[in-house]
Amino acid sequence: MRHDFLDRYSRLASPVHALPAWLKALATLTLVMAMAVARPSWWPALVVATALLVAGAWLSRIPAGFLLRRLLLLEPVVVVVATLALWQPDGGMRFALLVARSTLSLAALILFTNTTPFGEVLELLRRCRVPSLLVTVLALMYRYVFVLVDEAARLQRARASRAFSRSAARSWRSVASGAGQLFVRSSERAERVFTAMCARGWRP
C-alpha cells in the first residue's frame, strides 16, 4: 500500500525544499494574489510567473510528469468554471486569461505543497496565529487520512477474497456496505482517538 500519495516528494533534498517554509508560503501567496488581480494588459506578469514556476519546479528535482499530472487532475474544474466567461463580451480572451491565471495559481500551490512537509506548514500556521483548534483538525486529518486509506484497502481486500459473484448489482451492493463499514469504523476510531487525546492532557 502506498501511503505517500499526498505529498510523495515533499521531503526531497533540493534548493527549493531547503528554503524556509514562510518564504515559500509568502512567495506562493504573492503569486496567487498577483494572478487574482491580473488584467489582460499584464501579460508580461504571466510570462514572468510561468518562468519562475518552471524554474522552481526544475530546481526542486520533482519529476515534471508528477507535477503535470497533479495539475491536470485539477484542470477540469478550472476549465468548467472558465467556460462561463465565453458568454461574456470578448469571451475568448477572458476565457484564456482566466484559465492561465488559475492554472498558474494552482501550479504555485502544487509546487508549494510538494516542496514543504505538511508538518512545517502546520507549524507556520501555528506561528501565524491561526486558531489552534483549526490547526489541530488539519493535523488530525493529515495523520488519519493514511490510516483510513489502509483500513479501506483492508476491507476491500477482504471483500475481494470472499466475493465469488460477478454480478454487478451484487458487487455494487458490497461496495455500498463497505463504505458503510468504513464510516462506522472511522467514527469508532474517532472516538478512541479523542479518548487518547484527553488521556494525554488535551483540553477541549
Binding site: 508538518g119 493535523a139 495523520r143 493514511f146 487518547a196 492532557g201 488535551w202
Partner: protein, 252 residues
C-alpha cells in the same frame, strides 16, 4: 504514617451507557515503584479499569474517591494534574499517535502541560533517545513498524515525566523481536507500572504482583509466580500457566 499508594482503587463500579456492567466492586492498590500485572480473559474489564486510572472514565469525574492517585481523589479541578501523573498507553498505537510527525507527537503531551521552546525540544530528544529512536523526529508515524509505533507512544509518556505508567497490552501484535525490545525497555523504566495484558510471559518478567480480573470483578490477587502457577485458577479464567513457569527448574 504509612506511605501513600501510587494508585488506590476502592470498590470501583462502572456500567456503560447501555447498562452493561463493566466493573463491579474492584479494589486494589499499587505502591510507588511497584509493577503490577492485570490479567484476565477478553472482555473482563481490563481496558475499562485502566481508563478510570487517569480520569478518562467516568466522563465527568465524580470525586467519589473510588480511584485515588497518590492519595488524591480524581476531581474536575485536578484532572489535568492526574493526567500528567498517570500516563496511559493505548492498545492501538494508531489511536494514540495523532500528530503528523514523530517529534510533534512526543511533544503533544508536554505541550499540553504548557512546555515550549528549547526545553520542549530537549525533552522530545531525550525521550526518543530513551526508547532507542533517536533522530526519528521528522518521520511520519504511519511509516513505522508496530514496535516502533509503540516506542513512540512510550516516548510520549516519558516526555511527560509521568510517575505512573498504565499500559494496555504493550506487547500485543508485535513480532518476537519487537516484543523483547518493549519488554527490555519497560524493565528499564523506574516508574510505577500497571500492565494489562494477555502476555503472561512479560508479566512473569516485569511484575511482582498480579491481579486477575474476570466479569468486572477481581477474582484473585497475589505474588506473580505463585498465582500464575495455579493451573486450575488460570484455566478457570481463560488463561494458562505461562511456559516460563512450566520449565523453570525447582532449584533455580
Amino acid at each position: 504514617m504509612a506511605a501513600v499508594n501510587a494508585i488506590e482503587v476502592r470498590d470501583l463500579a462502572f456500567a456503560y451507557a447501555d447498562g452493561t456492567p463493566a466493573l463491579r466492586g474492584v479494589s486494589f492498590a499499587v505502591a510507588e515503584g511497584e509493577c503490577v500485572g492485570i490479567i484476565g480473559p477478553n472482555g473482563a474489564g481490563k481496558s475499562t479499569l485502566l481508563l478510570h486510572l487517569n480520569g478518562v472514565l467516568p466522563e465527568t469525574p465524580d470525586g467519589s474517591g473510588a480511584v485515588r492517585v497518590f492519595g488524591a481523589p480524581i476531581t474536575k479541578a485536578n484532572l489535568y494534574e492526574i493526567r500528567r501523573t498517570v500516563g496511559l498507553l493505548f492498545q492501538d498505537p494508531d489511536d494514540q499517535l495523532l500528530c503528523p510527525t514523530v517529534g510533534e507527537d512526543v511533544a503533544f503531551g508536554p505541550r499540553q502541560l504548557g512546555l515550549g521552546g528549547p526545553e520542549l525540544g530537549a525533552r522530545v530528544t531525550a525521550a526518543l533517545a530513551r526508547v532507542g529512536l533517536a533522530g526519528f523526529e521528522a518521520r511520519s508515524p504511519h511509516h513505522l513498524s508496530r514496535g516502533e509505533k509503540r516506542r513512540v507512544c512510550l516516548a510520549g509518556l516519558l516526555a511527560c515525566e509521568s510517575r505512573v505508567l498504565v499500559l494496555d497490552e504493550p506487547t500485543s501484535e508485535l513480532d518476537p523481536r519487537g516484543r523483547r525490545g518493549i519488554e527490555a525497555l519497560l524493565a528499564s523504566i523506574p516508574a510505577t507500572m500497571l500492565v494489562a495484558t494477555h502476555d503472561l510471559e512479560i508479566v512473569v518478567e516485569l511484575c511482582s504482583r498480579v491481579v486477575v480480573l474476570d466479569h468486572g470483578q477481581i477474582v484473585a490477587a497475589g505474588e506473580t509466580v505463585a498465582l500464575l502457577s495455579d493451573e486450575a485458577l488460570m484455566l478457570a479464567h481463560g488463561l494458562e500457566r505461562p511456559h516460563v513457569l512450566r520449565h523453570r527448574h525447582p532449584h533455580e
